[in-house]
Each structure stands twice: as structure tokens, then as C-alpha cells.
Symmetry: C2
């Protein structure tokens, strides 16, 4: 059994927490953890799993690996298939099937979108076991979620017993209501189960363009092996030739050998703030809040606050999401339209569509605390044993003050250790490097001074993360 | 003519911009400036003014003086009567009348609340001139604002010609509507005009307790004279004995010699966010915004944003006020109830009722950028020629990095000059002092480290602002 976690898409309805560089699978959940971490734990908890394949954007590798590291999964090897850009789900499934087939064409793959929330692990495990047994017979199995309400945000599957009658794209409200009334429809979850061999055969027949171009992109990929993980960087040019099409459209809707497993466990794809808000318990007035709030005459509101006091007076039915650099206030009935706001930000090239104030790097994070003319203040957190690149800047000098942990600093020709409450100065042009030699996180305040303070004023001489 | 600016009260309906240490007269107006600065300019622009008396809380002296310094008022001497705490308007008027009577009992005083917005300076000047002429005959003159709408937040004056028939406290909506219909009612603006002699005589008759105790508190006051200003610190114990009562109740409603000047110029006391919002022009959908916003399907909303992006989706009739540490979202129809929210914060002793993240000091400001275990980062801005106290801390050391301007630093036994992009380190226990010797503002980043980082870990040895 090889779980394949497919992690793509921003989840723009969950802006401003979800952003291009920090998409939906990575948003912190009210109950703790993230969607991708829980998905990984769920995958690792399945029977006979010793490899998990993850298909994701190359920019998300380090973030993903950090999330996985939070889950104890002894004996599980991670294979990362890193896409240079998204080409929809058929391409991702093709890559995974081809990669796994290289070792064992009869391995059973179970495709799990990274942004599903499933709390009933036993129910999930039973459904996967059932699907795996069907998949072993050469069929491609889809999972149908018991449709409880006439959602218009999902595709539907009409089924009878374990036979799929047809796949239906996202319906309008009227059709969705008819589906629910009929009792024969299930939500199309986007989870699938098949052997590598049968998926490759189906693609060869139904979408040979996807398969052959994905195969070329995988052959040309740059692979690095470590004992506990394989990183496969898919070739950019080869991947660009893969048609962007969904696995539903390319394979599932046309395949003749589709199997079906109806599921009744709770399941959500956390499609909007309205859905996410339900993870927070409501008070007597229907208000759900995280962070510091004060409510006066308020009903049915959701408040997510990270570090500020939110005071509400006389309002109802609002979704309020507060982050350090952007605030969203939406009416509950318009939660779907947050996507439109996000799209406008993206069109304008607004930074708040892409980056959070805290930016994740392979070695840790940095947060811009303040910017002004000729200066910028950053909080830098370096993970234990991590090191930044050996670098220099043309236009700025930097003061570093260690506020927590220990720093090993290369500054020009010298190398020094800085303990908490010590500082150093990196003049403009000096080669320098920051490292955390310790076992606790290193927290440092950096005060930059100079005529130009953009992130692109950096010359990298050496980098353990391959960014030179 | 001696204008008397009375500055008291938080303006809690304008939270979170208005706070106890930064009350309504000091909030930045959409059109520029502040209410108190505009009030001062209006007062200084009146005919024959060479002294302006300000009655305010002692904690607001430096903030007030800074605001006044923004207005060119050549030849005007400022007298500050500093109350240790508020005792309502009768006490404030008594202090002003007694103070001015010491120089000239026949001087004409015009009382101006610090939080009024009047754009028509000519109309205002004409009304004051008219009132002054009546006041010179020994009458106490009140100004009535033409009541245009049935406001329930003001007291009313019923008048016929220049004769006041009666004062009426804040009415309910029904009575207010009757007042407007009758055409004989004016809003009681809280502006008055009288000679020092006649107000003292009226108080001697109508509220002798207020007068005698105010007189004692003034006699025991600590006065410091400078060529351009007099600072009178009213005695705490003496002032505590003054009954807290409004000038309307104590004098105006009972006096027999009240004069009346009806006014038709635009006037507002900026009583709520709904009123303040009207100072910002509306777009075609009735939205009024300052700062960076993105609106999607939004009507009749007001947004005040200082440094963050505010995205709104599908909402209407909201007041949204965003500050670095607190956010308010109120329905327009409930703008008055912001006061209730403020009162709850105050009751809880919440810092957001009192302080902004940027705290004003006599020498400039500081802003806490970030706090964590054992460290705190501040941005410190020192005004030209200003100096902090000579001080020491028991529990923290400090790193200082100059990002703009020049700093003169006493650090233990040494005194150094730091230019932009230079830094120094103040060990725990060292006596130190920071000064801006230049003519441009000094901006500095301070990184504090230590086991305790409260503002009260400070020993002051010497201070130009008398805080030792």
C-alpha cells in the first residue's frame, strides 16, 4: 500500500490565512496541527505502509517536510515528486503511478488530497482496506462520501451498490437538492485507489498524452536519494508539455473498470471559512472565537485573531479573520466570494496574496517587524542545526542581536559564537553566514541599514539547500 | 479676550483610536491635524488674544504642548492648569476664572471644549465677538447651535431671540423630535463667554462650594513660569474637595443674567464613529475608507486602517477601525455602544483601554514591536534636542542600534556619539542616558534582554521633565 498525498492549490477561499506560498494544507487548525500533517498521519497509520509519495510544488518541499517531521512515522520512507508548477490532478496521479511502478507495478496506491479533514481514522482505514482489495483485482476505485446536504462546491457520483452509474460535475443548487432527495448520490471526494499497473494501463488508453509527457518529465527529473527520503525534481520543460486536466475528467469518467466504495465517516475538504469555523465550538449566541475578543450584542460570528484584541459591537453573521498584515471581514453567506477578493489581489500582484509577514525558509523563518526609510527590522528564527547560505549584500549592513539560543557566525575572515544577549555587526559587502549549532531554536533580531533593502540584494556563495 | 480650552474625557465612543492616555482631542482627523490642534488654532485666531488658558489632566501636558507647537501662534502665552484628575466642567471653569481674575477680573473668557470641530472660522469669530460684547455687560453668555436633527446625545436650549427660556438635559428621541419641530430649540454646545468677575460672582451665589475649594486648590498649586508659558499644577488634596458637577447644572441653569448667541455655523463634537466617518468622502457605494482596503460587494461601510490591508466581502453598514493592537467592528446603528465595550475593557484593566502600542513620552515616543520570553524589541523616537532621564535597570540589558539621526549616549562612565547604523550595549545596572543632540528626529531600535522587562524596572537619577 502506497499512499499518495496530492498537495496543490492555494485554497483561496481561506485567504488571508491561506496564501500562495502557504496554502490551505498548511493553515493551522483550531484543534491543533494542519490538514497536511493530519493527512500524513492518517496515511502513515494505514496497514502495510512503508512508503508515502507526495506530489507537490517544489517551493513547498521544506514546509511539507517540516510538517511531516511533526508526525512520528517510523520506518516510512518519503518520496517527494516536486512539480515546477501545477498541471492538475491527472498529471500528479500519472507521476505517482509511474514512480511507484518503477519499483513494483502491482503496488496498490491510494490517492489522498492533502486538504481533507477526516476524524474517524478507523472508518477511513476500513474504507481504504475495502478499496485496496477491489483495486488488487485491477479496478480503479473511487470513494463516495455520503452526501448529507445539497453542496454546490463538490462533484457528485451516482451509484447503485458498488457500481458507479455516472460522475456529475458541480451542480447548481436545484440539481444538488434533487441529488440529495434521490438518495443515490455521493460526493466525489477526490480519493482513489488502484494499482500502478492498472492506472498506467487506463491512462495509456484514455489520456496517452498525459501519461507519455509525464513519463518524459519523470525520466528527465533530477533525483536525490537519502536513506529516509527520495526527492525527485520533475523536469520543467517536460512537465510543461503535460495537458492540464483533472483525473476525474481524464480517467474516472471514461474508465470501464471503476470500483466504488461508499463511505459514511465524517469528511470535509474545509472549503471555506464557514466550514472551518465549525471546528471552533460555539457559545450560547452562536459565536465562535479564537484569540482575544470582546463581544457586545453579537450573534453567529466567527473570529480568528492571532495577536490583537478584536472588539465587536452589534454585529451578526460575520467571518472575521485577522492576521498581522491583512484582515478579512466577510458575511457568512458570501464566504465563497473570498476567492474573488483573493483573485483581485493576485491580479494586482499584491504581496498579501502570496506571502505572510512571517516567511518560511528551509532553515527556519523570518518576520519583518518594521520597515522604514533606509532600515528594516527582522526577527529571524533558525532551526536547530540549520544554517543559512554563505552570503553577502551590496547595499546593506546588518546588526544581529541574539535574543534566544546560540549563533555561530561567519563574518568576513572570522568565525564567532554568539550567546543570548550578544551581538555582532556585518558590514556591507562582508561575506557572512549564520548557523544554529545548538539544539534549541535560535532567535535573533536583525537591524538592516542601507540604501536598498530588497530581498534580492543577496549573493549566495554556498548553500546547503541548493539555492546558490 | 482669553480663550479657555477645556480638555477632558476619553471619548470612549471613539475607541480604539481614543484611549485614556490618548483621548478624543488627540485623535488624528481624516482631514489632517487633531481636534485640539484645530481648537487651539481657532482660539489663537480670535481677535485680541494674547493668552490661552488650557485646563487639562496633568498627564496630558506634553501631548497637548506638542499639539500646540504644530500651530503658529506668535505672541500667545499658554497657561496650563493641570488637574490631578477630572472634576467635571464647573471645577475647570472655576479654576480658569480664578486664574485669569488674578491678572484682570474684567478679562472676557470664552470657554471652548477641546473636542469640537468647527470649519467656519469667520462664523465662529463673529459669534464670539457678539458674545464678548454681551459678556462685557456682566452677563454669562451661552452659544446655541441651530439644531438640525433630533440628536439625543446633546442637551438643548429653548430660546426666543437672545433670551434663554430654559436648559434641557439630553432628551429621548420623541422629545428631541418635538424640539426640532418647534423650531425654538438649539443644541447646547458647551461653549460659554463671560468676564472672570461675573463668573466668580455667579459661582459665589450658585455653587460656593465649587468656587471656594477650587480657589484653595489653586492657591496651593505649584506654579512654574517660563517666558512663553505658565504651568500650574493644581493641588491634589484641595482639588479632591471640589464637587464634581457640570457648569450647566451648577451655574447656567440657575443664573439670572444668561445671555444667548444663536449660531448657524457647522459644528460637531465628533461624538461617535458614525459622525467621524462623515469626514471621509464616500464612494458610489457609500463606502468611506482610509488606508489600504479591497471591497467586494460592500455598501455603506467605514474603514479606518493604519498599516494593514483590509479586505471586505459582502458586508454593509459596518464601522471598522483597525489599530496595531486592537480592532473594532461595529454596526453603524450601534456606534453609541462602543462606549460599553470600552467600559468593559476599562473594568477589566485591559491595556487597550489606556495605552496605544505607540506610547507618547515628553521626549518622544516608543513602540513595542515584539515581546517574547526574556526579550522585548522597541522602536524609540527621540525629538530633536530631547533627552531621556539618566536611568538604570536592575533586570535588563539593552542593545541600541541607531537607524536614523544621531544619538548622544551616556553609558556608565563614558559618553559617546552614535551615528546612523552604529550601535552600543548597555549592561544591566549601568547608568545610562539617551539624547538627541541633532535637529532631525532620532530613531533607534532597542533590543532588551533580561529576566524581567516591565516598564517599572527603572531607577531615574535625573530628568529634565521632573520625573525623578
Amino acid at each position: 500500500m502506497v499512499p499518495v498525498i496530492i498537495s496543490g492549490g492555494v485554497g483561496s477561499r481561506l485567504w488571508p490565512i491561506s496564501r500562495a506560498s502557504h496554502p490551505k494544507p498548511f493553515i493551522p487548525l483550531p484543534g491543533g496541527g494542519t490538514l497536511i500533517r493530519r493527512t500524513y498521519a492518517r496515511a502513515a497509520g494505514l496497514a502495510s505502509v512503508d512508503q508515502i509519495v507526495t506530489v507537490t510544488n517544489r517551493d513547498l518541499l521544506f514546509l511539507t517536510a517540516d510538517e511531516y517531521a511533526e508526525v512520528a512515522a517510523p520506518g516510512v520512507k518519503n518520496t517527494f515528486l516536486l512539480e515546477p508548477f501545477g498541471r492538475d490532478t491527472a498529471a500528479a496521479v500519472a507521476l505517482a503511478a509511474l514512480q511507484v511502478a518503477g519499483d513494483n507495478p502491482d503496488a496498490v496506491l491510494v490517492v489522498l488530497p492533502a486538504d481533507h479533514l477526516i476524524l474517524d481514522k478507523a472508518g477511513f482505514g476500513a474504507a481504504v482496506a475495502k478499496a485496496a482489495a477491489i483495486a488488487a483485482t485491477g479496478r480503479i476505485v473511487t470513494f463516495g462520501m455520503k452526501a448529507e446536504s445539497p453542496e454546490t462546491g463538490f462533484g457528485y457520483i451516482e451509484a447503485e451498490g458498488d457500481t458507479v452509474l455516472r460522475f456529475v460535475e458541480k451542480p447548481n443548487a436545484e440539481r444538488a437538492a434533487q441529488f440529495i432527495a434521490s438518495g443515490r448520490f455521493f460526493w466525489n471526494s477526490g480519493m482513489f485507489c488502484f494499482t500502478a499497473r492498472s492506472m498506467i494501463a487506463a491512462m495509456q488508453e484514455l489520456c496517452p498524452d498525459v501519461l507519455s509527457n509525464a513519463s518524459t518529465a519523470l525520466e528527465k527529473a533530477r533525483t536525490s536519494n537519502a536513506p529516509d527520503r527520495i526527492i525527485v525534481e520533475i523536469d520543467r520543460d517536460g512537465f510543461a508539455a503535460v495537458p492540464a486536466v483533472s483525473i476525474d475528467y481524464a480517467v474516472m469518467e471514461k474508465a470501464r473498470n471503476v470500483g466504488f466504495v461508499p463511505c459514511s465517516f465524517d469528511w470535509s475538504d474545509i472549503g471555506s471559512w464557514t466550514v472551518l469555523s465549525t471546528l471552533v465550538p460555539a457559545d450560547d449566541n452562536g459565536n465562535r472565537t479564537t484569540g482575544e475578543t470582546m463581544l457586545h450584542g453579537v450573534t453567529n460570528c466567527y473570529v480568528h485573531s492571532e495577536d490583537r484584541l478584536v472588539g465587536l459591537v452589534g454585529v451578526s453573521d460575520l467571518l472575521i479573520v485577522d492576521t498581522p498584515d491583512a484582515l478579512l471581514i466577510a458575511h457568512k453567506d458570501k464566504a465563497q466570494e473570498v476567492k474573488d477578493l483573493y483573485n483581485r489581489l493576485k491580479l494586482e500582484g499584491h504581496e498579501a496574496a502570496t506571502l505572510h509577514r512571517t516567511v518560511h525558509r528551509p532553515w527556519g523563518t523570518y518576520t519583518v517587524l518594521e520597515e522604514g526609510p533606509r532600515f528594516k527590522i527582522k526577527r529571524i528564527e533558525v532551526k536547530p542545526n540549520a544554517r543559512l547560505s554563505l552570503q553577502a549584500h551590496h547595499h546593506r549592513s546588518e546588526h544581529w542581536v541574539v535574543v534566544s539560543g546560540t549563533a555561530k557566525v561567519v563574518n568576513g575572515q572570522s568565525e564567532i559564537l554568539l550567546a543570548t544577549n550578544q551581538s555582532t555587526y556585518i558590514p556591507c559587502g562582508h561575506k557572512h553566514r549564520l548557523e544554529n549549532p545548538g539544539i534549541l531554536p535560535l532567535v535573533m533580531i536583525e537591524v538592516q541599514s542601507g540604501e536598498y533593502l530588497g530581498e534580492d540584494d543577496i549573493v549566495r556563495f554556498d548553500d546547503v539547500y541548493g539555492r546558490t
